[in-house]
Symmetry: C2
Subunit: 195 residues, 2 copies
């Protein structure tokens, strides 16, 4: 047997990345074999190598695309305004964006250690750029007198850690709605940096 019907290259390619994303997030990069990814796609392991040069590239591509899309999306969501307004936009954007992509953020923050050195360096640049966006807001708020943040870099790390945490426990249909969660988190963040 070979391909069953129709042209599958543009279908199987994305399916490979989706399967890898799902399985890497659930079981971790090292625990997922190429054969498991192939089974999830509905294909033999050898066929995966039509879409990725190797397993490592699969992880790297997932991370890179995620970070680039994240930076792009935040670039569009950041419509300016006062530092408190921009911080609220950031908090709501970050939570909203990641609740829609829990697998992506899980990989982005948990599988960094499984990137080889060169790939890690590239992803790290993108991650720093995203964090720097938040740092800039906090510094602007300090300057305007809206915030009282003794160390913007530290506060940015703390804020992102807090916001990221939501993906580890939030489930749709649970006790709280997305809207409620988003608002409560924003409220905590707002107060934590307030002057």
């Amino acid at each position: 047997m070979a391909r069953k019907s129709g042209s599958h290259a543009d279908i199987t390619g994305p399916k490979v990345r989706e399967a890898a994303l799902k399985l890497f997030a659930r079981d971790g990069y090292a625990a997922v074999s190429m054969r498991k990814i192939a089974a999830e796609v509905g294909v033999q392991a050898g066929a995966l190598y039509l879409y990725t040069p190797d397993k490592q590239s699969l992880l790297y591509d997932l991370m890179k695309v995620h970070m680039e899309e994240l930076l792009d999306a935040w670039g569009q969501a950041d419509t300016g305004g006062t530092p408190p307004e921009r911080l609220e936009a950031f908090a709501r954007f970050h939570i909203h964006y990641h609740l829609d992509r829990p697998d992506n953020i899980f990989i982005a923050y948990m599988e960094l250690r499984n990137l080889d050195d060169a790939n890690f360096a590239e992803i790290e640049v993108l991650r720093r750029r995203y964090e720097q966006g938040l740092i800039d807001i906090l510094e602007a708020g300090n300057a305007s007198g809206d915030f009282a943040v003794p160390d913007p870099k530290l506060a940015a790390m703390a804020a992102i850690s807090m916001l990221n945490g939501v993906t580890t426990w939030f489930r749709d249909g649970g006790r709280l709605s997305r809207e409620t969660v988003e608002t409560i988190y924003w409220d905590m963040l707002r107060k934590s940096v307030a002057a």
Copy 2:
């Protein structure tokens, strides 16, 4: 060759757990082979099975001991007082305790998915117990009027996420001292739950 000199059982046993902790935290459970652990200890892989029935038990034991010691330590550090006092004690304890044991917390929160079902259930009970301690403080603070926390459970998750984050970037000898970091984190937490 067999054992070189002296009785090694009470030396090798702890060394196995230390090596496993270090390597699991650095590379992840699935990426660490028994042979790598053995090499770190300075022994052949077969010898590990004198100290653990299997690899899974090694992970489970590390987690269980960590959680039990954590609960025990917090039980001693929680000396009572007003809710704000207890919250400060919690924040400082949590940061201090985990900065001394970065490998432990990394495993405790990252390798849960590598526990089999029965082991996971046991560890989960301990983790919930620790989180409940924080929830109790937040509820007490709501009752006393010191805090304004709309959802103590959510706030507890957010607070722990934030505090845990410190271990991912803090390094001794870096820009900030432990004392400074501890105080800044506590200050952010204090404000975030304040009435």
